[in-house]
């Protein structure tokens, strides 16, 4: 259990003369350092996007038919003006890739956070009250899990079309909602399992015997003890949700062109086959996506090794 892991770590403090903080202990883990480094780069990329665009004079959706396409209409390769070359429409691949980082994080982080909040709430209620409520919730989780992600996402996106075909709410929001709708179950199952275990633990029964109310038990005994685990699994789920956004956009269901997203950039490269002449058209967004996922995966697996020695499989 994670809480014990942390407790054990902080318990070690009194033995050592220079007491290392939790952060220092985390930092000793190699994968935490590497992961944090890569994640930092991704954040930097996302923040620097407008600056780079300004420096190069290329907006993310600006088309430079004259300078970025050759006489055959093929995109140019890397040059001083276009560091990663251009895409089929004469747009700057570097600038679009950097803006893509913004989109990835803007979708991934809120979606994972919403999923975590919903999932933790549902899982806690279901695990703590058990019995009939638990059966209903488990059935709900089954239903949510058994919906096919892409097909349902498509239906939900059509739902967003108003009478004139214009979206009612920004598509970005819909993508966030769709992804959180499909990943809350992960947190719900996690917290439900943790809470079920804690519910019958001597710690909770001791609180019951001194007369603590249910809300007090949840607030003081249960939530603080499951929260660290849930936060680590937030970091585990985030890269999965970034990939989910990219996949939806790749299939043309998520972020729509011309707004740059790594998914729709890769889709365009693949559809037009132009990456065979201008490899960076594919490699730019492809590598960026890969690095981001590797970074978060490495960071979260490092966090798990330190904080959660008995890694859960589900």
């Amino acid at each position: 259990m994670l809480a014990e892991g942390i407790a054990a770590i902080s318990g070690q403090r009194k033995d050592t003369v220079s007491s290392p903080t939790l952060l220092q202990i985390l930092w000793r883990e190699r994968s935490v350092r590497i992961g944090a480094g890569i994640v930092f780069l991704v954040l930097l990329a996302a923040l620097s996007a407008p600056l780079v665009a300004l420096a190069l004079g290329h907006g993310p959706t600006d088309q430079f038919q004259e300078t970025a396409l050759d006489e055959m209409g093929l995109p140019v390769g890397p040059s001083a003006a276009f560091p990663l070359g251009a895409d089929g429409n004469g747009r700057d691949v570097l600038v679009r890739t950097l803006y893509g980082a913004q989109v990835s994080l803007l979708v991934g982080i809120p979606a994972t956070t919403i999923a975590m909040l919903i999932g933790t709430l549902v899982g806690t209620v279901s695990g703590f009250f058990a019995g009939r409520i638990d059966r209903v919730v488990s059935q709900g989780i089954d239903v949510a899990l058994s919906f096919p992600f892409v097909v349902t996402a498509l239906s939900l996106l059509s739902l967003n079309r108003g009478g004139t075909g214009q979206p009612i709410i920004p598509p970005l929001l819909v993508v966030i909602l769709v992804i959180s709708l499909f990943s809350w179950t992960y947190f719900a199952r996690l917290t439900r399992g943790l809470v079920l275990q804690l519910r019958t633990s001597p710690m909770v029964e001791a609180s019951v015997t001194i007369g603590a109310s249910k809300t007090r038990i949840i607030r003081l005994d249960i939530l603080p003890n499951i929260l660290p685990t849930v936060l680590v699994y937030w970091a585990v789920q985030l890269p999965a949700n970034i990939v989910a956004e990219a996949t939806l956009s790749f299939l043309g269901v998520g972020i729509q062109a011309p707004l740059p997203s790594w998914g729709n950039m890769i889709a365009e490269a693949q559809r037009t086959s132009l990456y065979q002449d201008q490899p960076w058209f594919l490699a730019g967004p492809g590598l960026a996506l890969f690095l981001t996922v590797v970074g978060f995966n490495t960071l979260s697996s490092g966090l798990r090794t330190v904080l959660d020695p008995h890694q859960r499989s589900a």
Binding site: A7, S10, G11, M203, E205, A206, T209, I210, L220, P224
Partner: protein, 536 residues
């Protein structure tokens, strides 16, 4: 003939030196007992000697098995010796048997790992072994999985595995620690019988000098990775030389309590809690409780004794309102608060009955400081004045004899004994009339145990709190309780004053329980009704 001899063995785990040079040996047909408290390095030494420690440990010294050096021998050589020439029996047979393999498979494997043996012959041998270790209906047992068996049965299976190939030496590491007393006695008998039959050498590791006293020829006492005393058993028990041996012997309960509790007064106490015809059953199994009735008097400590599965914890849970009965009632000061169909307790009853749990590691919230944990009862009771709460919390800490600077710590920064004191402090915060102590000292080291027992007795004397002291340990019960109720399979077979129960038991089951308490061979001549000194 010398079977196994260890000299100057050292074991290090990283920077920690677990074993710091130990020497002992054992001859054929003899039993060597290695005794020490947890962390003394007794198990680590033996595992290291036989190559069963993870490779991260570094091991030095010399280990001769029938004259052959096996420390640093190739894994292949060790593999040939383990199982064939040295048999092992470990503590807690449930975790030591593979949960997904049948008994037959697991014993058969011990043979086929070393010999070519055809199926039918192997089956015959396994059946003979099961019979040998006293398992009835061996044919049916072959197909059973470990969790279908009782603790004692599982340990018999472990022993069958250990003796499958007639080893010269059996290493038994705390083989009876997790077992009930009667089962423990039968396992000790079995080991002795097998040893006599085959002339095997036996190394018996234990934390308890009482258990060892019935079986050992020689005793090695270990402390902090060193052998502090090594002598024939008679000498150890009659004239121990080392101070630590004397301390262990002082804490050991040979054949029961060292002394009986002093009844606080001769007059019958006015009743506080009435338990009437309590019954409880869970789905798909026999009833856990049948017609259980008893009374706890004001300021009385009632011991509730029984083996695992006897239903003693269920009684405690029902009284504390953590479970509800299927039949019968529980009454506190004339107010009936638990009966079939009720759930939860009224606030005043809730406050009057508190619980101390077995595992002090699990019963305290690891993320809250001692101060926050101890302030809880007052806050829940509606106290708002912070200064008042702080005063009371400090008073509680001194009530359980802890220093005030402990308030800022987290449970993980406390020792087991300190944690249990905090749990006790929390339970007495609102001055309850009754505390249910469910195996409250079982998880503690033997010396810590004595201090907590003394504290409980003291709290009763000072605060007049009654206790229902639930335990499987007859020794502790004898030393603390005024009266004892003996529980067998969910039914109370006998109730009476402690001394009467121990010295003139009436029911057969009570007699059997008492006869099984280890240390009879070397029990002290005098067991007067004096208070035990807990010094040391």
């Amino acid at each position: 003939m010398r079977v196994f001899s260890v000299s100057d063995l050292k074991v290090r785990f990283g920077r920690v030196e677990a074993v710091r040079g130990i020497t002992f040996d054992v001859d054929a047909g003899r039993t060597l007992a290695i005794v020490g408290e947890s962390g003394s390095g007794k198990s680590a030494g033996l595992l290291a000697a036989t190559g069963l420690l993870p490779t991260s440990a570094s091991v030095q010294g010399s280990v001769l098995h029938r004259g052959q050096e096996i420390l640093g021998a190739s894994p292949k050589t060790l593999r040939k010796i383990r199982g064939a020439e040295i048999g092992f029996v470990f503590q807690d047979p449930l975790s030591n048997l593979h949960p997904l393999k049948t008994i037959g498979e697991q014993i058969g494997e011990a043979m086929s790992a070393h010999r070519r043996i055809d199926r039918s012959e192997r089956r015959e041998r396994v059946l003979a072994l099961l019979d040998d270790v006293g398992i009835d209906d061996p044919v049916a047992r072959l197909k059973h999985y470990p969790r279908h068996l009782s603790g004692g049965m599982r340990q018999r299976v472990m022993i069958a595995m250990a003796i499958a190939l007639d080893p010269h030496l059996i290493i038994a590491d705390e083989p009876t620690t997790a077992l009930d007393v009667t089962v423990q006695a039968s396992i000790l008998d079995l080991l002795k019988r097998l040893q006599e039959k085959h002339g095997t050498a036996l190394i018996f590791v234990s934390h308890d000098l009482a258990v060892v006293s019935d079986i050992a020829d020689d005793v090695v006492v270990m402390q902090n990775g060193l052998v502090v005393e090594k002598a024939p058993a008679g000498r150890i028990y009659d004239s121990p030389k080392h101070a630590y041996t004397r301390q262990l012997l002082g804490a050991a309960r040979l054949a029961g309590p060292r002394a009986y509790a002093k009844p606080a007064g001769a007059e019958p106490r006015s009743p506080l809690l009435h338990v009437r015809s309590l019954g409880r059953s869970f789905e798909t199994s026999r009833p856990v409780l049948k017609d259980v009735s008893f009374v706890v008097g004001k300021g009385e400590i009632l011991g509730l004794v029984g083996e695992s599965g006897s239903g003693k914890s269920t009684i405690g849970r029902i009284i504390a309102g953590l479970d509800r009965p299927d039949a019968g009632t529980v009454t506190l000061r004339g107010e009936e608060y638990a009966k079939p169909g009720t759930a939860g307790l009224k606030a005043d009853i809730r406050r009057a009955i508190q619980v101390i749990f077995q595992d002090p590691y699990a019963s305290l919230n690891p993320r809250r400081t001692v101060e926050a944990i101890l302030a809880d009862p007052f806050i829940i009771a509606g106290e708002r004045d912070r200064a008042k709460i702080a005063d009371r919390v400090r008073q509680l800490v001194s009530d359980v004899e802890l220093p005030e600077d402990i308030l800022g710590r987290l449970p993980s920064q406390l020792s087991g004994g300190q944690r249990q004191r905090i749990a006790i402090a929390r339970s007495i915060a609102l001055r309850p009339s009754l505390i249910v102590a469910d195996e409250a000292v079982s998880a503690l080291d033997i010396t810590t145990q004595a201090k907590i027992v003394a504290l409980l007795g003291d709290l009763r004397d000072r605060l007049g709190i009654s206790f229902l002291f639930i335990s499987h340990d007859l020794g502790v019960v004898g030393e603390l309780c005024d009266r004892v109720a003996v529980l067998e399979k969910g039914h109370i077979v006998e109730t009476g004053p402690t001394r009467r129960i121990f010295e003139h038991p009436e029911h057969d089951y009570t007699k059997r329980l008492l006869a099984a308490v280890p240390g009879r061979k070397r029990q002290p001549a005098d067991r007067s009704q004096k208070a035990v000194s807990y010094a040391g």
